[in-house]
């Protein structure tokens, strides 16, 4: 029995090679897209987590301006004896090599946040050190480090990455310079002894890494882990109440990585599902066709006296085999192509050494489960239905669907005007309702995805220009202590002596949070000293006035705010309710711009802490360097730094979208190919008859392929609308984000999606023409005797 089944199975596969192959391919594409795109953010996080585990990333870091004493550690252990810890030293220093000055940090940790050696050798000598990996030029060079007034040399023996500094760009601020830190040096403890020389014994450490061996969750990117760490932070705070505590999520670079990975997830979420539905649809219609085409086989088997179960089992195995092969291909393509490509593009922002492909069994099983279920159910239903007939019936071809008048024929004046062949074309389109629906849905899905992909590109592309050229007109922020109006004006007078400063505006700037869907979102509150001047620094939809309270678009959209609505802001554990007067466009970050009177009234702060700097010549940034020498300036933020990070993060999204667009295009071809070939196989007899009547190849092709084109255009038109909505939905539902994506589709996207789909359909038509040419009249019209 089994022998017969396998013999039938293999001869069936052999006879329908191209159908089997396209079934496998469609399945592979659907599965690849599903597992690949849905797994991107997870695989990014898995790689980060593996890195954290391997380099023993600490759970909480304590940094103190004083010293970490043994007493304090004993106190902590009394409260919580489940901790592992390491004391170490961390110092802000200046370093130089070849007369280039670095704002640096030197640290001595060994057991936690272990530096990962990318290039070079291990530290051996006292004066050996590592620096972070993007400083290739320093390897094997001696750099000078200015330590507590004395200059010491150290030899850079290796380049390293560290889980503490996941972001390549962001290294935090230095306590000894307004500039951002741009070099991390890892040395032996003994190297830093000089600095601690005069400190009292026995402890000479100012930093502490804490790690918990028994966590409720090891995965940093889960709520479970976050809750666990939050609880622990509260305990540690009891002992180290004056010190600076950071969990992994206060670590700016890990947080940014998390947000980026979540953003990718939200952009990608709907894509593979629709993709998958389209492929499932096409697979099941191909399988249906395949079985119906094969009535002879079924009839022969059952007329030979075998049970119907045999032929059903053959189809079951056929479907099962093609799905399994396709899915396995899909897993490999999906996991190996999509997440690694996206991770590679994020590698300009984050240093994750040794990224690996992690197979995700949950997603794989989901994909396999859905595909198998759909195809096997279709196969079983159709084959039961078909085998139910008497063998004699089966041995005859299926009666073709009856002709019927269509609706348009009733509109007489229109119908009369149509050419004869167009009438036939139209009637044929509506004759096969199932095929009509399948084709339209499939082409709609593909072109909708194409439209969405293009839409995401145009949502992302202009953001940098709009934000940093159209809206922002300043080049840097300088932070001071909180001071009165008179003092800040004295500061301004002082810095204005410098050349190339066109405008300097005093503001108060504070960071609060707002609650959106039970999640705290950051919001920056800015209150200018002069409303008028703010308009020269930031472009608002409506000019900022002395009565303005303006919130940026993303927040207004998320909270459905209108003018005169109230906005609740949390700042240092207190809630403030503020009535807004307007909304303005903004693409990066969430802001509330509030006039100073209102600000003073609401927050009880009548001070200034931030200067907006607008340069006359934006290319020449020397003036920012000079500002570092002013003692009242604590830190300087060059805006191009933020612009660079945002630009790179957005470019990484684009890479994923390119993949999705390419897959959508590929899907258009395969879907249209398999639907058309089904159509041609089904109507072979009809086409052969036309050939006998003397229709030439072009006329015969037109007869059937015009239908194809009309169906494509129908599906495409609906797809364009569908894609517009889908794109809008995705873009307006991205949560994990401080970026406002442009939600409109430019006209050019419609044109591109239209042209691409039509071109692909035409390509398929050209391929199909040769198939039509091959139809053999004598074979196809053989009378059944």
């Amino acid at each position: 029995m089994l022998k017969i089944i396998f013999k039938l199975l293999f001869s069936k596969i052999n006879n329908t090679k191209s159908q089997f192959f396209s079934l496998v391919m469609i399945c592979a594409i659907g599965v690849a897209m599903y597992v690949g795109v849905l797994d991107v953010s997870k695989m990014m996080q898995q790689n980060a987590q593996a890195y954290f585990d391997k380099q023993k990333a600490s759970d909480i870091e304590v940094l103190t301006p004083f010293l970490i004493t043994d007493q304090k550690i004993d106190d902590l252990i009394k409260l919580d004896n489940s901790i592992n810890y390491e004391k170490y030293r961390i110092l802000d220093v200046k370093a130089d090599y070849d007369s280039h000055e670095y704002i640096a940090k030197i640290q001595t940790n060994l057991h936690y946040n272990i530096p990962y050696l990318v290039k070079g050798k291990q530290i051996r000598e006292d004066n050996d050190c590592y620096v972070d990996a993007n400083n290739d030029n320093l390897l094997n060079k001696k750099i000078k480090i200015n330590l507590n007034g004395t200059t010491k040399q150290c030899l850079v023996v290796g380049l390293v990455d560290s889980p503490q500094y996941l972001s390549i760009k962001y290294r935090g601020y230095s306590s000894i310079s307004p500039s951002k830190i741009n070099l991390i040096i890892y040395s032996q403890e003994s190297y830093t002894d000089d600095y601690f020389k005069n400190m009292p014994l026995p402890s000479k450490y100012n930093a502490l890494s804490i790690s918990y061996p028994n966590k409720t969750s090891n995965n940093t990117f889960t709520n479970n882990y976050q809750d666990f760490v939050d609880k622990k932070l509260k305990i540690i705070k009891k002992v180290f109440n004056e010190d600076y505590l950071t969990s992994r999520f206060d670590n700016k670079s890990i947080d940014a990585f998390y947000i980026d990975s979540e953003r990718i997830k939200e952009i990608g979420a709907i894509f593979p599902i629709i993709f998958f539905l389209v492929t499932a649809l096409v697979c099941s219609s191909a399988m249906t066709r395949n079985i119906q085409d094969d009535r002879m086989l079924m009839g022969t088997i059952s007329s030979m006296g075998y049970s119907n179960i045999i032929s059903i089992f053959v189809y079951f195995l056929y479907a099962f085999l093609s799905t399994i092969i396709g899915s396995i291909m899909g897993f490999f393509i999906g996991f190996h192509l999509i997440p690694p490509t996206v991770m590679k593009s994020y590698s300009i922002l984050y240093s994750l050494p040794n990224t690996k492909v992690y197979y995700d069994f949950d997603i794989s099983l989901q994909a396999l489960g859905i595909t198998l279920t759909l195809i096997i159910i279709t196969t079983l239903v159709i084959s039961f239905k078909e085998t139910h007939q008497k063998p004699a019936q089966l041995l005859r071809p299926k009666t073709p669907i009856q002709g019927k008048k269509i609706l348009i024929e009733k509109i007489n004046f229109l119908w009369k005007r149509l050419k004869f062949l167009s009438k036939v074309n139209l009637r044929n389109i509506f004759r096969y309702k199932k095929r009509l629906l399948m084709s339209i849905l499939a082409i709609m899905g593909c072109s909708g995805l194409l439209m969405t992909g293009l839409g995401i590109l145009s949502s992302v592309e202009p953001i940098i220009d709009k934000q940093f050229s159209d809206i922002y007109h300043y080049q840097a922020l300088a932070y001071t202590d909180s001071v009165s109006k008179t003092t800040i004006n004295d500061y301004i007078k002082d810095v204005k002596k410098l050349k190339n400063l066109e405008q300097v505006l005093a503001t108060y700037r504070l960071n609060g949070t707002i609650n959106i869907n039970n999640k705290a979102n950051d919001i920056t509150i800015i209150s200018p000293e002069s409303a008028q001047q703010l308009n020269k620094i930031i472009t608002f939809n409506k000019s900022f006035t002395d009565n303005s309270v303006i919130v940026t678009r993303k927040i207004a959209d998320k909270l459905h705010l209108k003018s005169n609505d109230n906005l609740r802001i949390t700042y240092q554990d207190e809630d403030y309710v503020i009535k807004i007067t307007g909304i303005t466009d903004n693409y990066v970050g969430n802001y509330l711009y509030i006039n100073h009177n209102q600000f003073t009234k609401s927050f009880k702060i009548n001070k200034y802490n931030t200067l907006y700097l607008k340069l006359s010549n934006t290319k020449d940034k020397d003036v920012l360097k000079k500002l570092e020498d002013y003692s009242f300036i604590k830190a300087i933020d060059d805006d191009s730094f933020l612009q660079d990070i945002v630009a790179k993060s957005l470019a990484s999204i684009n890479n994923l979208v390119y993949i999705m667009i390419a897959f959508a295009g590929f899907l258009v071809i395969i879907v249209s190919f398999s639907l058309t070939s089904i159509n041609i196989i089904e109507r072979k007899r009809e086409l052969a008859t036309l050939k006998v009547l003397g229709f030439n190849n072009l006329e015969v092709s037109n007869y059937v392929l015009k239908e194809n084109l009309i169906l494509s255009i129908l599906g495409l038109s609906i797809g364009l609308v569908f894609g517009t909505y889908l794109h809008h939905y995705i873009m307006s539902h991205i949560e994990a984000n401080d970026i406002y994506f442009i939600q409109e589709q430019p006209l050019i996207n419609y044109i591109i999606a239209f042209v691409i789909t039509i071109i692909f359909t035409l390509i398929v038509n050209i391929i199909m023409k040769s198939q039509i040419k091959k139809i053999d009249m004598v074979e196809s019209l053989k009378s059944i005797e």
């Binding site: 669907i401 036939v424 009547l693 030439n696 009378s783």
Partner: protein, 233 residues
């Protein structure tokens, strides 16, 4: 010179190492306006011969001249043109296009013809003037075959080829179909070739050919062909 001249026509199918001789050297002359009946068992090669005469299939060797043109030398494009302008085909199972009406099926053939007849007139000729707007599935077998004849005839072909036109029909209906074909031959002077396995039909033909194993083994002319009404089987 006869209207159709066939000389040593052979058709050999090769299936792997096996050679099947479907036509084993046919020699035949047919005059214009003849009603030719080719009779033979299934497998005698009559359908293959008809397909080659109709330009649907190609010969392995030999010549086939119709109206002074050797169609065995035609390429595909010329063969298409030949089928389009010169040949009308009628099949055992009608092969109507299911999704268009009676009238449209006939007009379909008219679309590509050079000098066609009026479709409605032809349909009246075969007695279907009342069924113009019916779809094939709404017609009986005999009616469908009459549509098929009208479709072949409307092109005003030089030659009509009928492959077992009554094979799927009952006695009375079959007679009706033959009556139409005979009338067309007599009234319009159309050259018609009918193939059948039914010897009784021989009586209505002008020119009778018997085939077996890919060869013609008997051939004769009827001086006075019978009317179909007089024939019984």
């Amino acid at each position: 010179m006869s209207y159709i001249e066939i000389k040593d026509l052979k058709k050999i199918y090769e299936m792997g190492s096996i050679k099947i001789k479907a036509l084993n050297g046919i020699n035949l002359n047919i005059n214009k306006g003849e009603l030719v009946i080719i009779v033979g068992q299934s497998g005698a090669g009559k359908t293959t011969l008809l397909n080659i005469i109709g330009g649907m299939d190609s010969a392995s060797s030999g010549c086939l001249t119709i109206d002074k043109q050797d169609i065995t030398k035609f390429n595909n494009k010329k063969l298409t043109k030949y089928r389009r302008h010169d040949i009308g085909f009628v099949f055992q199972f009608y092969n109507l296009i299911p999704n268009i009406t009676t009238l449209e099926n006939v007009e379909m053939a008219k679309e590509v013809a050079l000098d066609p007849f009026n479709a409605r007139k032809i349909l009246k000729l075969v007695g279907l003037e009342d069924r113009l707007n019916n779809f094939p599935a709404q017609l009986s077998g005999g009616q469908q075959q009459r549509v098929a004849i009208a479709r072949a005839l409307v092109k005003n072909p030089k030659l009509m080829l009928c492959d077992e036109p009554t094979g799927a029909l009952d006695f009375e209906t079959g007679k009706n179909i033959l009556k139409i074909l005979q009338a067309m031959s007599r009234n319009l002077g159309m050259s018609i070739i009918i193939i059948t396995h039914n010897h009784a039909i021989e009586a209505i033909g002008d020119h009778i050919i018997h085939m077996k194993d890919g060869l013609i083994y008997n051939e004769y002319y009827n001086e006075n062909p019978q009317n179909i009404d007089e024939v019984e089987w």
